[in-house]
Structure formats: structure tokens, C-alpha cells
């Protein structure tokens, strides 16, 4: 029993960690490529979930809803990049923080104007709603599937960044944007592409999370902050850092919620569990101020 429980918690942590990775890698890529701090990243997570819940309620097809949500999300992302984000690339971080905070206010209210104040609930497709036997544990099929999808996306992303010409351009402009431009690279198109890509990754995380939780306005805020914690721990601009940080944060969070109340009693335990990932962050900062994989710039 104890081992089965441990294994189940580990799967949950792995799944949470991979969702966080999809979010955090976007924060890290946007900063790495365009020196952009984008607080509205969580809004794309929320928007993905809303669009998915909205389409699936009228089509009953998870696939159509997923694809439709991503297409709409890409259109929104490109439009937002063109109007709000692109002028911000060369501005200072304060202006980026404030403008993207403005975007959060806009998106959080826009979803309520479009879909009402009540939370939306999305059903699981039948073939995903069962359980799979992993040894002795009955594990929800859906959670296994999204874990697998996240792994595939992670590998595809690694291939894109490490093995393709586009990826080379992304890495190059992370190192020196001006030189890439001088050598004839179109940094504007690249910026738009990367922004759309990370928005889609956030959207995918939102879509996959939608059936597990209530879809509400502001749901992106909590995820955004967790992914910032991931990036602080892993090191800003490092994709490996995003992965390691996401898994660390997820395991500390999931196991903290299980064991801290047992160790310290419910009262202190719950408070500590709520704060555990931030304490992890503080500890990392004392040890390595720029994060585990962070480099001074």
C-alpha cells in the first residue's frame, strides 16, 4: 500500500511537473530570445482552457475542441504580439511588467464578458475517463495520456531548439540579438514566432488541465506564479533549468501536501505545504542566486 501510494503520488508529481514545464519553458524562451518578461503568459493558459471548454460544449469532440482552441489561440497570440508585445522588446522591464499586467486585467475580464462569471466544466471523452492498471495501482487514463503528450512535446521542443535552423536562430538571438539582425536574421518574425509558440505551449497546458479543474477567470495567475518560481529555481533562459525546476517544484509541492501535515500537524502542515515551493526557492537563492542552471548576463 505504502509503495503503491508513493508511486501514485510520484506519477501525479511528474504530471504536474510536466504541465509546469510547458508553462515555464515559455517564460524562459520569451526572456531568452526577446528579453521579454511576460506576465500575461498565464492568460494563454486560461484562454486555452476556456476556448477548449467552449468548443467542446457545442461539438462534443475533444479533438475538434483541442485543434480549434489552438488555432484561435494562435490568432490571438499573433495579434497581441503585433499590437502590444513587439513595441515592448526594447523597453525596460518595468514597462513590460506593467503592459503585460494590463493584458491580464483585460483577459481576466474578457473571458467573463464572453462566457459568464460561472466556472465552466469540461467532460472527459469516454475512452479517456477510465483507469489503467499499473501493477497494483489503478491510475486515471487521462493523467497518463497528458503526461505522455507533455513528454512528446518536450522532446519535439528539444529537437526544434537543438537541431533545426530556426532553433539555431533562437539560440543565437538569445546570445546576441543585434548580431543576428546584422547577419540578416529577421528578429521581428522570429520574435513573433517564438511568442506564438510559447503561447501555444501555455494553451496546450491549459487545454490538458481543463478537464481536471474548474475553468475560471484568473486561473492563469496561480500557474503563472508557479512557473516563475520554476524559472527562478532553474535559471532564467535555460530550457534544462525549466525542466529540472518544474520537476523539483512539482515533487516538493505534491509530497509537501501529503507529508507536511502528517509531520507538523494539520494547522502548521497546511500552511507550510502552501509555502513549500517558495521556501525551496529561497533556499535555492541562498545557494545559487541565478538559479541552478542560470548564467550571469
Amino acid at each position: 500500500m505504502a509503495i503503491a501510494f508513493l508511486a501514485e503520488q510520484s506519477f501525479n508529481a511528474l504530471q504536474l511537473g510536466l504541465m509546469l514545464f510547458l508553462m515555464a519553458v515559455g517564460v524562459t524562451l520569451a526572456f531568452g530570445t526577446m528579453r521579454l518578461i511576460n506576465l500575461a503568459h498565464g492568460s494563454f493558459f486560461m484562454l486555452g482552457a476556456y476556448l477548449y471548454a467552449w468548443i467542446i460544449s457545442s461539438t462534443d469532440s475533444g479533438l475538434a475542441a483541442g485543434i480549434g482552441a489552438l488555432i484561435l489561440l494562435a490568432i490571438v497570440a499573433v495579434a497581441i504580439e503585433r499590437v502590444v508585445i513587439r513595441p515592448l522588446y526594447l523597453r525596460d522591464h518595468l514597462e513590460q511588467v506593467l503592459a503585460t499586467f494590463g493584458l491580464i486585467l483585460v483577459f481576466n475580464d474578457a473571458v467573463m464578458m464572453l462566457w459568464g462569471r460561472d466556472p465552466l466544466y469540461t467532460p472527459l471523452p469516454d475512452f479517456l475517463s477510465g483507469h489503467v492498471m499499473l501493477g497494483d495501482i489503478a491510475y486515471p487514463t487521462y493523467r497518463l495520456v497528458i503526461t505522455a503528450v507533455a513528454i512528446v512535446i518536450g522532446l519535439a521542443l528539444w529537437y526544434l531548439i537543438a537541431r533545426t535552423r530556426t532553433g539555431g536562430l533562437i539560440r543565437a538571438s538569445a546570445d546576441n540579438r543585434a548580431v543576428v539582425q546584422a547577419l540578416g536574421g529577421n528578429v521581428d518574425t522570429l520574435g513573433a514566432g517564438v511568442f506564438a509558440l510559447v503561447a501555444l505551449l501555455a494553451g496546450i497546458a491549459g487545454i490538458m488541465t481543463a478537464p481536471l479543474i474548474a475553468v475560471t477567470s484568473g486561473m492563469g495567475d496561480a500557474v503563472l506564479i508557479q512557473s516563475l518560481v520554476v524559472v527562478i529555481i532553474g535559471g532564467l533562459g535555460s530550457i534544462m533549468g525549466a525542466l529540472v525546476g518544474a520537476l523539483l517544484v512539482a515533487f516538493v509541492d505534491v509530497f509537501g501536501r501529503t507529508y507536511l501535515p502528517l509531520a507538523f500537524g494539520n494547522t502548521t502542515g497546511f500552511a507550510l505545504a502552501n509555502m513549500s515551493i517558495y521556501l525551496l526557492m529561497a533556499a535555492t537563492l541562498v545557494w545559487r542566486p541565478l538559479g541552478i542552471f542560470g548564467k550571469a548576463r
Binding site: 494590463g102 532564467l236 494547522t267 517558495y278
Partner: protein, 312 residues
């Protein structure tokens, strides 16, 4: 300072005094409540401007100090300590300590890291407050009543408003003075060129920690007053990271690095919300658009133009 600049300054101070007097004389309860809120948020915005305008640090975590000030005041009131002379210093002290620890950790980094770390630490207090039993968790809790100052009641909205204005004025004078003194100059020198400042014997780290800690104390004081104004404390209204961002918005709506610009910005921001929310429940949508427009379209803040005009 030229004669016109001096004359204009005197006129502005006089105009503010007249405004305060008029509010006290003719303001109804709702107006005074709103005016008190402006003074309280202005205080917090001044705190944010101390680190933003003089030390060049973007803090996204000032809600933590504001919230701690409010929570400690509320918790002390719940157990019967309503005397301001006792409770308020304790609340401010707790906020000050938190600012010192967070500052010491966050100042090991700079730039984007600093923004994200202050934001994350503030969020730690938000989730912590959500889990503390006896203080209402996510729902928050109601205070038994306003503090008393040396045994005297501050329940009268006019007296409370005057108290807020007095505290704001005192903090403004103190901060302007510190900004003009060697402390402020060293802080600006370290902001503009850290290496050169270091060569002149200015150690940026401790200067910045001092500024951040003082700023946290002032934000904590604003939280204390806020708890006394609303008599209701919840994580979402006192510790939310949106509040930290709003403080920054207030500062840049006025003008950074002037302190009184933060006061004007706080008034403008709260007025904007007040007016828009009169017409629609979705005021945040329009306020968000206004914030984006301000960042993308205006370069220096609304006061910068006015300042040029008045030759201040």
C-alpha cells in the same frame, strides 16, 4: 530653484491644503472614505517609488508588506489589542522585518530576477495567509473595530481622513529629505552606475537593503491604515499580487522618482477605477486597456509635462 518654481510649489502646497480642508468641511461619509483610501494607497505608492525611483528596483512584492501590516493589525485587534500606539508599531515592525529578509535575498540578484523573486515571495505570504486558521483563511475576517490612538477614538471619518493625510505628509517630508541627503544621492549613484559608485566607496547592497526595508515599513504602515479603514481583511484584498502591480501602475501614472508623483498617480488610478466601475462591472477590462495605452503611448508620465510647464 527659481522664484517661479518656488512660487508654484507654494501654490501647490496651498491648493492641497485647501482640498483637504474642503473635504473635511463638506465631504460626506462616502467621499471621505474614498479620500482616505487615496491617501492610504498614495502612502503605499510612495513606498514603491522609494525603491523604484531612487534605487531603480522594480518590486512586484509590496503587497506582502501592505498585507502583513493589515494582518498583524487585525490579528492584534482580534485578541483585544486595539491601541494604535502599541499595535501599529508591532505591525510595522513585522512588515519591516519581512522587507529586510526578502530584500536581503532578492538583492543578491537584479533586473528580471528581482521582479520575479519579490513577486514570488509576496505570493508565499498570500498562500500562507490562506492557510492560517483563525484568520478566516481565503474568506478573510472582520475586525472588531478601529484602533484607538492613545485611548481616543478615530471612528469619525473626518478624523480618520486627517490622520491618514497627516501620516502621508510626514512620510513624504521624511522621504524627500532622505532623498535629498547623502543617502538618496548615493542610492541614485549606485542605480546609475554601480561600478563607478563602488569606486567612490558606495556599497550598493546595504544601501539598497536599507531603502527596501524602509519602503517595506511604509507599505506596512499603509496596510495598518487600510485595515482600519475597511475593517475587513482578506488575502485577495491585501496580499494579492495584483495589488503590487497596481502600486507600480500608480507610480508611473504620476511620475517616478519624485514621491509626490506617486500621490498624484494613486489619486488618478483610484478615480479612474471609481468612474469606470460606475458604468460597468467589467471595469478591470477598461483599466487594463488604459494601463497598456499608458505604457505604449506616453513616455514620461502625466506629471512630467506638467512639471516642465510649472518649472518645478
Amino acid at each position: 530653484m527659481t522664484d517661479t518654481a518656488f512660487r508654484n510649489r507654494v501654490l501647490i502646497v496651498l491648493a492641497s491644503a485647501v482640498l483637504v480642508a474642503a473635504l473635511v468641511a463638506f465631504g460626506d461619509q462616502t467621499t471621505l472614505r474614498f479620500a482616505s483610501r487615496v491617501a492610504i494607497y498614495a502612502l503605499a505608492a510612495v513606498a514603491v517609488d522609494i525603491v523604484l525611483g531612487y534605487a531603480g528596483l522594480v518590486s512586484m512584492g509590496h503587497a506582502a508588506f501592505f498585507g502583513l501590516g493589515a494582518y498583524v493589525t487585525g490579528a492584534l485587534a482580534l485578541v483585544g489589542y486595539k491601541e494604535a500606539l502599541l499595535a501599529w508599531p508591532i505591525a510595522v515592525l513585522v512588515a519591516t522585518l519581512a522587507a529586510f529578509v526578502i530584500g536581503a535575498l532578492a538583492l543578491r540578484t537584479s533586473g528580471v530576477y528581482f521582479i520575479m523573486i519579490t513577486l514570488a515571495f509576496a505570493q508565499m505570504f498570500f498562500y500562507g495567509a490562506n492557510a492560517v486558521p483563525g484568520l478566516g483563511g481565503a474568506d478573510g475576517f472582520r475586525l472588531p473595530g478601529r484602533s484607538t490612538v492613545a485611548g481616543l477614538s478615530i471612528d469619525d471619518p473626518r478624523i480618520f481622513f486627517l490622520l491618514c493625510v497627516a501620516i502621508l505628509t510626514a512620510i513624504l517630508l521624511f522621504s524627500r529629505r532622505a532623498a535629498g541627503a547623502a543617502f538618496g544621492s548615493s542610492l541614485r549613484a549606485a542605480r546609475d552606475d554601480e561600478a563607478r559608485a563602488a569606486a567612490s566607496g558606495i556599497g550598493a547592497y546595504w544601501l539598497r537593503i536599507t531603502a527596501f526595508t524602509v519602503s517595506g515599513a511604509i507599505a506596512g504602515l499603509a496596510g495598518v491604515l487600510s485595515a482600519n479603514l475597511t475593517l475587513y481583511i482578506a488575502p485577495s484584498s491585501t496580499l494579492s499580487w495584483h495589488l503590487s502591480a497596481e502600486f507600480l501602475v500608480m507610480v508611473i501614472l504620476g511620475m517616478t522618482g519624485t514621491l509626490y508623483g506617486a500621490v498624484v498617480g494613486a489619486a488618478l488610478f483610484l478615480l479612474l477605477i471609481e468612474v469606470v466601475s460606475h458604468y460597468t462591472d467589467y471595469w478591470a477590462f477598461y483599466v487594463g486597456i488604459a494601463v497598456i495605452a499608458r505604457v505604449l503611448l506616453v513616455h514620461d508620465g502625466l506629471l512630467a509635462k506638467l512639471q516642465e510647464r510649472l518649472a518645478l
